[in-house]
């Protein structure tokens, strides 16, 4: 099995790019490199490199920079960095609002992908708690017992996302009167390490899973079905089953945004247009993530394959 090493691969891509840089830069626009940020999850690497390849085809000078998901906003504001391809409505909203309010950062619209975040369990848990996926099943003591550990018993244990992601799970448990204790993982690597561990032993686990991600592709399981999110649910206590508390519903699902430094529009107007036009959907992305993370292909190969298969689409973006 060959292993993918993104940084190594990116570097070799950079090297290759430097040798093959024969394409003419659009005469009227700036020849400075457009800096796209890379984070540490595969989907984002794919999205960004597709965008980068498309821009290269249009004759732009492209540079990839590794940056932290939230810390990158400091760079986007000052113009040190130019484009961030994946800002999730669910996790990046606060930072995005703060940044766009300064006028230095511009939201270039939806990427076509929809972020899903919800409580998730492996299919084998259905035998122990037959009422699932309906959330009401979790209210029974038997189900809570099935999901419990020594520290939480008799309550069930729900492994939530890092505190920084928000999500109002503590409030949800209280509002829906679920006999569960919320334990927060510190990072998503820890989140999926626990899932992997439990799945190997067919042990009980109930945790936060998001998509697009490789986990729902690799493990068999489903999302808990809570009352569907509405704006009123989070804002108005009267809404929903609990008349005194908000958050008595599931999590919102939201788009993944493309974000850029506001200077991009004037410096590279053509690129601005192309980035705004970029669009891929969840299934397409899920397939590509699976190829990289589970089948062991390199990000470059997957991106190259996509470019070849979708010539019509991307040439439309850069027209």
């Amino acid at each position: 099995m060959t292993h993918v090493r993104p940084a190594a691969a990116i570097l070799s891509a950079l090297l290759a790019a430097t040798v093959l840089s024969g394409a003419p830069v659009r005469a009227a626009e700036n020849a400075d490199p457009i800096r796209l940020t890379l984070h540490d999850w595969t989907g984002q690497l794919i999205t960004t490199q597709i965008m980068g390849e498309v821009l290269k085809k249009a004759g732009y000078n492209v540079e990839y920079v590794q940056a932290d998901y939230i810390a990158q906003f400091a760079g986007l504001k000052t113009g040190d960095l130019h484009v961030a391809m994946e800002i999730w409505e669910t996790t990046g909203r606060d930072a995005l609002d703060e940044a766009t309010a300064t006028g230095q950062v511009e939201n270039l619209g939806e990427s076509g992908m929809l972020a899903i975040e919800e409580w998730w369990y492996p299919s084998y848990m259905k035998e122990l708690c037959p009422g699932l996926p309906d959330w009401e099943a979790l209210k029974s003591d038997a189900c809570a017992e099935a999901f419990s550990t020594a520290e939480t018993a008799p309550k069930g244990r729900y492994l939530g996302a890092p505190v920084t992601w928000g999500g109002y799970d503590d409030e949800r448990v209280e509002a829906l009167e679920l006999p569960f204790e919320v334990v927060h993982a510190g990072t998503d690597a820890a989140l999926f390490a626990e899932l992997e561990s439990a799945y190997q032993r067919k042990a009980p686990i109930l945790l936060w899973v998001y998509a697009p991600h490789w986990a729902p592709q690799k493990y068999e399981g489903e999302w808990v079905e809570f009352p569907t999110y509405e704006k009123a649910c989070y804002e108005d206590p009267a809404w929903g089953s609990n008349p005194d508390m908000a958050y008595d519903c599931g999590k919102p699902r939201g788009p993944i945004w493309k974000v850029a430094w506001s200077g991009v529009k004037d410096k590279w107007p053509g690129a601005h247009k192309a980035i705004s036009a970029f669009s891929v959907d969840n299934d397409e992305m899920g397939g590509m993530i699976t190829k990289v993370d589970l089948d062991g292909q390199s990000v470059e190969d997957v991106v190259a394959a996509w470019m070849e298969a979708n010539t019509d689409r991307w040439s439309e973006w850069i027209k």
Binding site: H3, A7, L11, D32, P33, V65, F73, A74, V163, A193
Partner: protein
């Protein structure tokens, strides 16, 4: 202080001091009794009468977060020196770091480029893997003979064979910039502190802050000031790696024997000669411990540096663990260790090399005889560069020959997980329910007023009213900025970890100090522990122990045990052999030799080790935040992800205050115990 210590040695005032001491001790018993009683009363019954002593009312809190955020905004947006702004200055510094970095990166990784981004044109290819390995081996041979050459060659070959070459060179480039700056800067600061007492006083708190404020806390301001990319990562690395070098320089310079000073004075050295010809060379063994620490800490920052754009091996580790590809994570982690070992052993060998005399006859020979290594190195680079143009395997290690452990790492962890999880869980639960949770409950229930008071009393007892004032003010500041609860969780987690680390580290250090072979093995293990990114073993630990305090504790102990071992062994090994000789002659048993002479003489060094263990434990808080603790580290981490400078720095400062309190109290305790030991010594000598 030292004069005070020598007074009781004189026989005459000894009796008087003894009587006074008894009275004094009785008085202290009463003071302690009263203090503890007041504390217990407050703790047990105070909550209903004085809730503010447990939980500071919101209105009393100091809005430090807002002040810091405002100050930061002013610094970034408005601060100006007239001709140029503060940001201009920091950007200029960034450019000063960036230029040599780009050059080294070009040589090692990207090739010398014209322009940037995908439109850049490569003028020269980077050094081939054979050239880099060869040059490193030549340096090894020059400094330490064939064995070192083979070791260094093996390390670099490991990088190539396991397919880590490209990333390793990116990491190496940033290390090659950060380490010299850290070493030279640390030495200069150490010299200045050695010369001027005032400077020493002013520097100590700054060093404490640099070492203990978690890196995540100042990452955001650094990004604002130094721009995005590798430069910021290098700056953060320097801030983190510099303090131990300064501390150890100072300690080593102070330990230079009086004879060396006298020699300098007798031969009429100027001030500069005294510094560079006498002091620094005499202090070299100690200074090399500092260099070692700078290299280790720089490599330790690789992961965090990669989060703000340094790339390289750190990024590979993060990416691999996000896919739960434990094997790939371990490979990239071990590549960091291989780099660390190669760099560390090379630097040690260079320091140990004595300058050769008898260069006169070499003058007459040719260039090759005078500079055989330089010539060989240049030839190697030239030949491989030319050959690389024709044969690709010379330029880059062929992909087909790369090895990988594949899924073995994941399989092993999976096997342990499936077969032994229940036993592991039982041990974990026992420890958790009987030790960790009670300790946490106990600490969380204490009133801040009482704890600050007791700390103050302790400070007064150990070091007088100045120390008492310092610790009381710092402890109260933590409470008044609203961090008390999280601070207590921090104290609990780090306290337990430090105790365990010392319980493991000091005995191991004692064992290793007298046995050269054991020491070699132990050194390899602690170097690995200190440089292997904790993320690599954190994720398997999460799989086996779940997220939570227990996993965090394992990570902290694994990382913080290194200085406890290293300083203990180093202190014991440098005990003056003549004193040992004297002990053996007077018929001391090995046990007596160890306890009465070696351990006693090594005590300052061991205490420095414990001090460093605490510092490192606190610096791991950021990492423990990644497995879901609810302490100050988590607060800093949240602040980072919200890019909230004020919130991060306030929590970071609270961490630093805890460290400073611990540091000062330990230092004062050490000073007192040394005094008391001196007294006991004379008493023992007379009987």
């Amino acid at each position: 202080m030292s004069e005070a210590a020598s007074i009781p040695r004189a026989p005459a005032p000894l009796a008087a001091a003894g009587a006074g001491g008894r009275e004094n001790r009785r008085r202290w018993h009463i003071i302690w009794g009263a203090g503890v009683l007041a504390f217990v009363l407050l703790w047990q019954f105070g909550e209903s009468y004085a809730g503010w002593a447990f939980d500071i009312p919101r209105g009393w809190r100091i809005p430090m977060q807002r002040w810091i955020s405002d100050a930061m905004r002013w610094l970034v947006e408005e601060a100006s020196f007239g001709l140029f702004t503060f940001t201009d200055l920091t950007r200029f510094l960034a450019a000063m770091v960036e230029a040599p970095y780009r050059l080294v990166l070009g040589l090692l990784s990207t090739g010398i480029l014209d322009g940037r981004g995908s439109a850049a044109v490569q003028l020269l290819p980077p050094l081939s893997w054979l050239a880099v390995t060869g040059v490193a081996m030549l340096m090894g041979h020059y400094a330490g003979g064939r064995r070192l050459a083979l070791l260094v060659g093996g390390c670099f070959a490991f990088l190539a064979v396991f397919g880590q070459w490209a990333s390793a060179m990116v990491t190496l480039a940033s290390i090659l910039i950060a380490v010299p700056v850290g070493v030279v800067g640390g030495l200069l600061l150490g010299l200045a502190a050695f010369r001027w007492r005032m400077f020493d006083r002013a520097l100590r708190p700054v060093l404490d802050l640099m070492q203990t404020v978690p890196v995540f806390a100042y990452l955001v301001p650094i990004l604002f000031l130094f721009g995005f990319g590798p430069t910021s990562a290098v700056v953060a690395t320097i801030i983190y790696a510099l303090p131990p070098m300064t501390r150890i320089s100072l300690l080593a310079l102070r330990a230079v024997p009086e004879e060396a000073h006298e020699l300098g004075r007798m031969t009429g050295c100027s001030r500069r000669q005294m510094t560079w010809r006498i002091l620094v060379p005499s202090a070299r063994p100690g200074l090399m411990v500092g260099v070692n620490q700078v290299i280790m800490l720089s490599l330790n920052m690789v992961i965090i540096a990669s989060m703000i754009g340094a790339g390289g091996l750190g990024f590979d580790v993060l990416a691999a663990l996000r896919r739960l590809d434990i094997g790939a994570g371990i490979e990239a982690g071990l590549a960091i260790v291989a780099l660390a070992i190669a760099l560390d052993r090379l630097s040690q060998a260079f320091a140990d090399r004595r300058p050769e005399h008898g260069a006169e006859d070499a003058q007459r020979k040719g260039l090759l005889a005078r500079h055989p290594y330089t010539v060989a190195g240049c030839l190697l680079v030239l030949v491989t560069a030319l050959a690389g143009l024709v044969a690709a395997p010379v330029q880059a290690y062929p992909k087909a020959l790369q090895l990988s452990t594949g899924s073995v790492g994941s399989d092993i962890v999976g096997w342990i997980n499936v077969n032994f999880f229940d036993q592991i869980e039982a041990v974990k639960n026992a420890l958790l329910l009987n030790v960790l949770v009670p300790a946490k409950r106990f600490l969380a229930g204490l009133p801040w007023l009482g704890v600050s008071g007791l700390l103050g009393l302790l400070g007064w007892r150990l070091g007088g009213w100045r120390l008492a004032l310092l610790v009381t003010v710092l402890a109260s500041l933590i409470a008044f900025t609203g961090q008390w609860e999280k601070a207590m969780v921090t104290v609990y987690l780090c306290g337990i970890s430090v105790v365990i680390a010392c319980m493991i580290g000091i005995p191991v250090g004692i064992l290793a100090s007298t046995r050269e072979r054991v020491w070699k093995g132990v050194e390899l293990v602690i170097d690995t522990l200190q440089t292997l990114p904790s993320f690599v073993y954190l994720m398997p630990a999460v799989m086996l122990f779940r997220v939570g305090d227990f996993t965090a504790m394992i990570a902290v102990v694994a990382y913080a045990v290194a200085p406890a071992i290293r300083y203990t062994a180093h202190g014991l090994r440098q005990v003056n052999p003549q004193l040992l000789e004297a002990g053996i002659v007077s018929g001391a048993t090995p046990w007596q030799l160890m306890t009465k002479i070696r351990l006693r003489l090594a005590l300052p060094e061991i205490l420095l080790g414990i001090n460093q263990t605490i510092m490192l434990a606190l610096s791991m808080l950021v990492i423990t935040a990644l497995v879901g603790t609810r302490d100050l580290g988590q607060e800093v981490y949240i602040a980072l992800t919200k890019a909230d400078t004020g919130r991060g720095l306030v929590a970071g400062l609270a961490v630093a205050f805890i460290a400073i309190i611990a540091d000062r109290l330990i230092a004062a305790a050490a000073e007192r115990s040394r005094q008391r030991l001196g007294l006991d010594d004379t008493a023992g000598g007379r009987s």
